[in-house]
Amino acid sequence: MDALLVRLIILLPLAGAILTGLVPLFMPGLRKNESLISTIGTLAVAVPFGMVVYLFLTFDGNAFVATFYTWMAAGDLSVDFAYRIDQLSLIMGLVVLGVGTLIHVYSIGYMHGDDGFWKFFSYLNLFIFAMLNLILADNLVVLFLGWEGVGLCSFLLIGFWYTDLKNSAAANKAFIVNRIGDFAFLLAMFLLFRELGGLDFDTLLNGVDTLSSTTVTMAVLLLFLAATGKSAQIPLFVWLPDAMAGPTPVSALIHAATMVTSGLYLLARMSDMVLAAPGVMVLIAIVGALTALVAATIAITQTDIKRVLAYSTVSQLGFMFMAVGVGAFFVAIFHVVTHAFFKALLFLGSGSVIHGMHEVEHDLEHEGHDTSSFDAQDMRTMGNLKAYMPATHITFLIATLAIAGIPLLSGFFSKDEILFMAFQAGYNGMPVAYAVWAVGILTALLTAVYMTRAYVLTFRGEERWPEAPSIAPHESPLSMTLPLWTLAILAIVGGYIGLPGVIADGDWNWIHHYLAQDYGGPVADLADSAGFSLPLALKWLLIAIGGGVAILGVSLAWVAYDREGLAFDDRLRERLGPLYGVWEVKYRLDEVYDAALVNPIRDIMGQGFAKADASVVDGVVNGAARGAAAFGRVLGRIQTGVIQRYAVMMVLGVVIVMALILFV
């Protein structure tokens, strides 16, 4: 029964993708039938969600594996198509399918009238299918299939509105940057397979003790590199902000709630192995903290509402990596859950706003205005939207307060737990963790500031678009606001699954008990953290600091931006001087990559570069590709078309081959 359910959970989204994708491809008449397509597409996710809820409720604490079939059994390698149901995969399944269902519903309204409506639902279903493969897999191979599958869907969806050249460039950039991470993943798999002779999680995690510390370190390092690609950490985070070119529901589902957290999931799944590589964990903590800070500072300066949210996502992912770095895997997953709620809510809210602003743009065009410079995502043209979009306003406010960490909302509990764990790790003899904690506190303050800024600039103050208020946006349809309200409720109460340790000695931290290994779950726990060695007063103090900076940040920013509006940005720029400038240009990371990697290649390769197609991929990836292409053109000169040159090359080859075989 349960095995059958697992099959259905996996296969229904695939069936949905085929029905909404391939059938309309060959029967163009169906493409415009939005109600049919959206019904199929949404049910293909909603029904599996119900099944996961059932599995979750009837789960008896014993992990079980549903094997579809043995896929290859070549030599030592035996790989099954097997899916694992345990605490971790159930939690992830609930989040992915739950948020996924809501976003499908939301998309019905958001994508209404788009030519690619059917394609969009097909891609979304395909994404859910791949994501389920990723989180339910029982071995690294199937997980990797899902891992690449979500990358593919991400590529397709970022480039969805492909008539816009920039979108395609962003899609390519995301794809190619991620290939670097995937490549590390493959190497880790090969390495582990060679050492352990199997790739299913039981073999891997039971075999950790038999591995040499070098091997473990290498493997964890490679897995971490893979995670930095998918979860957008330094140095591979440059793709995520650009990925916002896709439709907003995609940003919410893939680039905030689910796909980008798969790096965290991977590390949590392999937590026993990660714990065996303490050196790498320090690196993870540092990278996480740096990413969180860097992204938060950039977010303060952005004016595009989706880019603010994108950098905020990068920053929050940094928090999660901090948790992993100090060995608190379950907290990372906890933050994944709460973050999925409020960040999806924020994106959907911004989508609702953009939807409304497009309406404004349309009306302006109707009135004969020149709208070529009008940007529906620019917060500088918004303001006072609370008057026009009440539901969006309230839900966005809730999400803002939640992500800022205002006490008793979901973000507070999970973020506080991360900071607490970091501090405790320092207390338990990991000096760098204190620094991580300090950076975390600073970042929390910045988070409160930039999110409040985004909220105030968008919803408060006065209208800044032309012809206001005679032309005004309207509230989005029910199919869009319903998911907003649902997520808002979750963003409020979601944190109560993990109450802090000061309450009832940690007994009420349900998610800790559910996931962590000491309690039967699959996620490892640092052995000494179970003792909660910190004095009680210190614990309360830490909570107070965490809540305090959030309240401080929100109130400061609220007062400042409510009073001065956009002008406060300029005051900040003056006050902070060059620092603000650095943030504004995003630390010039794209340019640094250019200077470090691209330009030298270009200089060496000389001419031919300028002719290269400028539109394929921009930034780093583009540059590297163009550099290689230029190199190719140089190599290509050997290909003169004259037979005798070819023959000379061949004889050169003969001489080399003979020399190698005779004298080496």
Binding site: Q644, R645, L662
Partner: protein, 169 residues
Amino acid sequence: MIQQVLFLFLAVVAIGSALGAVLARSPINSALWMVVNLIAVAGLYITLNALFIGVLQVLVYAGAIMVPILFVIMLLNLGSMPAPSEIQWKHVVAFILGVALLTQLAFVLAIGLDALPEMSVSEEAVAASSAREIGKMLFTRYVLPFEIIAILLLAATIGAVMFAKRKFA
């Protein structure tokens, strides 16, 4: 003794005519030098007591292959190529590579052949190289490659007709 003298004579002729074929300005001269070379090599086969192959060499190579080549040269009315005005770098590279290859082959011969016995064409060898023995082998042991060679020749004929015919339908 007579064998050595004969070998040396034929070898000198073969190398000389090969150089002539490669170096001659006019393609006609090249082809004629080539014929000399092929006949000298046929002579070498005979010094090895490989009579059947020697005869075949003259018949097939010198006869069936060289004649069409001469035909084509005359058909296209090809004159001499102009002498190269200056030495091009590609010629230098080509020469160096050719010498390198020859050196490697010489190395192989110098080092590698110690293990091989000295030349003495036995009665067995004479028997093994007879037309009778070769024919028997061709039609039993190597009948499959023999049949495939037939296909190869058919394909080559089709191709030659296809390329050379003025209008092919």
